[in-house]
Amino acid sequence: MAITMTSAAESHVVRHLEHRDKGIGIRLGVRTTGCSGLSYVLEFVDKKSDEDVVFKCGDVQLIIDPKSLVYLDGTQLDYVKEGLNEGFEFKNPNVKDECGCGESFHI
């Protein structure tokens, strides 16, 4: 099982963590909600729980709870610019189907 991150995503995460001045990494997750079943969680982490799984990506810790991991295995976190808009994107090979805007999805 693996979760990875592009170098663009990594440099943004590092910058955000530095700016925030606290936090040990970021959490990637999945929860059940939304118009198409599942949606992504992307949060700063101040304290991880015992059951969390940690992936090291350069200097950044990607923290994932085991329940989410099954949905996210093989995912690559990317940082993209679309015109003036920019932000993080989950490149998740498990996704079968997503809602129009991609904020929620099906496995």
Partner: protein
């Protein structure tokens, strides 16, 4: 694929729930739009990567041709249709504009209300319309950058803007289709960008005084703010609406003219060349000690010292305005805790040195002074729209203690809960307790305890002229409204007759931080007691109602409908209820007895019902009765 931002722990938004908000600095010369991304404030640039949008709109017969840099290019070729510095006209009357002494090159007319209109190739436009074009352009930029419609914006205004100017700014936003979360004073926005509001919340000191020194291209503003309990208050403002970086350029250009031995009168081209040389020299001198200026085939050297000499008078003028506003605010220069620099001209070392000297402390200048106001507005917008629910930031403009009303039994019914952001309005319906009740006393209280006696009384007033009805028949709507200044307005209105009564109070008046904290602490530590007491009071009110009703019924029908033993049984139950009502501290015991009395009196109630139906039907034929 929607692009995501990193949220604070536990605050990932639901899909489609992340709110898109921006802060807009609607400036006289330039405007900006900013947002908060993954917790960092960021200016949203245009497609060419430019942060600023010149506040310029160009009109052609078909309408608006362009806004911003492109519009500014028409300045020299089509000055009558190229509208700039419109902010100076916003919310002003034609008479005001004459006294402004502005030499704006536009053709003014006035509408019936005496508000200025500008004649353009497109037709007559109002300053509000022009401002709306600028706002629309910025909102469009933001919607592209955020990938969707905006949920709201915070727009900054100068601290000295009056109601009419603020309203005009709001109207312009509405016209541009932007939902205004709040208008924010520019100096307050700058202080927020530096996080001064949250620092105070942590160290709990009572208040801090902040001076915001804003030297832009064409205007100078000084504002003295007082920050207490997380709320900013403007103590004094001052400045000069015709003094700014442009005047520095003119002073340097004038020196160039003398050095180059040119005459007093220059043509437009020469003037522009000198001004541009002056401006770039000024900017370079922020980094270097001296610069070489090549102008009109001559090379000149300008040192920082010399420039300082040239503009010293102008800086001195701003310092005088600072001293004046501190006098207005009745505060001593030494009591200022923080100085914040805003506006591009504060980059000049000579300016920041002088300011440091005056206040005796190092001013805050780590954020780009051109962008700082928009950044602060973005931060505030992020909070107001609900993306950042971290407690500290919310201390800004919230209700520190719940506001409620006294109900039967001395209980508080909270109408506006503490930590609600203001402005806010809430209404709740109440009813009468007794048959034929024609007046109701409204007691406004503040606090989070369950009993009125543990809360602070703010005001009392009476609603009179309620039409007599059975208990519970009247509908009285009580509305609490707290405006942005923290003023509470309470009104009570009987809905069927429309009779109304109202009162205005200032809720935070006279309560110190410590008192507020103490009251809150009490509400936590007494939570269990309060819950028990509330339960008890509720049962007591219920017992009173039952005792009163049943005694009245016995008085009337007891002899005719009940035999002696039944009557005695009921009396016994009532006496016990009365006794428990007076002495019991246990709401469950009281509730049990209320139920017992209810059961005991069931038969009596049924017979009374029968009797009253019989009475009503007596002497009627079946047909009449069924009508």
């Amino acid at each position: 694929m929607a692009l995501l931002q990193i949220s604070e722990p536990g605050q990932s938004p639901q899909p489609h729930q992340r709110k898109k908000s921006v802060g807009i600095d609607l400036g006289t010369t330039n405007s900006l739009v900013a947002t908060v991304r993954s917790g960092i404030e960021a200016i949203l640039p245009d497609e060419q990567g430019r942060d600023l949008l010149p506040s310029v709109v160009h009109y052609i017969p078909e309408g608006v041709s362009c806004v911003g840099y492109e519009a500014a290019e028409h300045n020299s070729t089509d000055p009558l249709n190229t509208l700039s510095s419109i902010k100076r006209l916003l919310g002003r009357g034609v008479d005001d504009i004459k006294t402004l002494g502005d030499t704006l090159p536009y053709e003014f007319t006035s509408d019936e209300g005496g508000m200025p209109r500008i004649n353009t190739a497109y037709g007559v436009v109002s300053p509000i319309q022009v401002s709306a074009e600028i706002l629309r352009k910025l909102a469009g930029r933001a919607e592209l950058a955020l990938g969707g419609m905006l949920d709201g914006a915070v727009i900054t205004v100068p601290a000295y803007f009056d109601d009419a100017q603020r309203q005009a700014t709001k109207d312009a936003a509405t016209l541009a289709g932007i939902k205004v979360l709040r208008l924010l004073n520019e100096p307050t926005a700058a202080a927020i960008a530096y996080g001064l509001d949250t620092e105070v919340a942590e160290d709990e000191s009572q208040q801090r005084l902040i001076a915001v020194y804003d030297l832009g291209g064409g205007t100078f503003d000084i504002s003295i703010l007082r920050l207490s309990k997380g709320v900013f208050e403007v103590l004094a403002t001052g400045g000069d609406s015709a003094l700014g970086g442009d005047d520095f350029d003119h002073a340097i250009a004038n020196w160039l003219r003398i050095e180059l031995a040119m005459g007093e009168t220059l043509d437009v081209v020469e003037q522009r060349i000198l001004l541009e040389a002056a401006k770039s020299a000024k900017q370079e001198l922020s980094q270097k000690e001296q610069v070489e200026i090549e102008v009109l085939e001559t090379a000149l050297v300008l040192t920082r010292e010399k420039m300082h000499e040239l503009i010293d008078d102008l800086i001195e003028k701003t310092l005088k305005a600072c001293k004046r506003s501190m006098r207005d605010a009745k505060i001593d220069v030494n009591s200022i805790d923080e100085v914040v620099l805003v506006g591009g001209s504060t980059r000049m070392p000579s300016v920041s040195e002088k300011v440091t000297e005056l206040f005796g402390l190092k001013p805050k200048c780590s954020i780009d002074p051109d962008l700082v106001v928009a950044m602060g507005a973005a931060k505030q917008a992020d909070v107001l729209v609900g993306n950042n629910t971290d407690g500290d930031m919310l201390l800004l403009d919230v209700i520190p203690l719940s506001l409620g009303i006294e109900t039967m039994g001395g209980l508080t019914e909270k109408i506006i809960h503490r930590n609600t952001t203001i402005p806010v309005a809430k209404a709740q319906e109440f009813t009468t307790f007794k048959d034929g009740q024609t007046a109701m006393s409204i007691h406004v209280v503040q606090g989070d305890r369950e009993l009125v006696s543990d809360c602070r009384s703010l005001a009392r007033f009476e609603l009179q002229g309620i039409p007599p009805m059975v208990a519970g028949g009247a509908k009285i709507q009580v509305s609490y409204q707290v405006d942005a200044d923290g003023l509470l307005n309470v009104s009570a209105r009987e809905l069927s007759s429309g009779v109304e009564s109202r009162i205005e109070v200032k809720p935070s008046y006279g309560l110190s931080d410590n008192e507020i904290t103490q009251m809150l602490q009490d509400s936590f530590s007494h939570a269990r007691d309060d819950m028990r007491l509330r339960g008890l009071r509720e049962q007591q009110v219920e017992a009173d109602r039952m005792l009163e009703d049943l005694r009245a019924a016995i008085e009337k029908d007891g002899q005719s409908l009940l035999d002696d033993s039944e009557l005695q049984c009921l009396h016994l139950a009532l006496d016990e209820l009365q006794q428990l009502r007076e002495n019991s501290e246990d709401h469950r015991q009281l509730a049990a007895q209320i139920e017992t009395v209810g059961k005991t009196s069931e038969e009596f109630a049924a017979r009374r019902m029968d009797a009253s139906i019989k009475q009503a039907l007596a002497g009627l034929s079946l047909d009449d009765a069924l009508k």
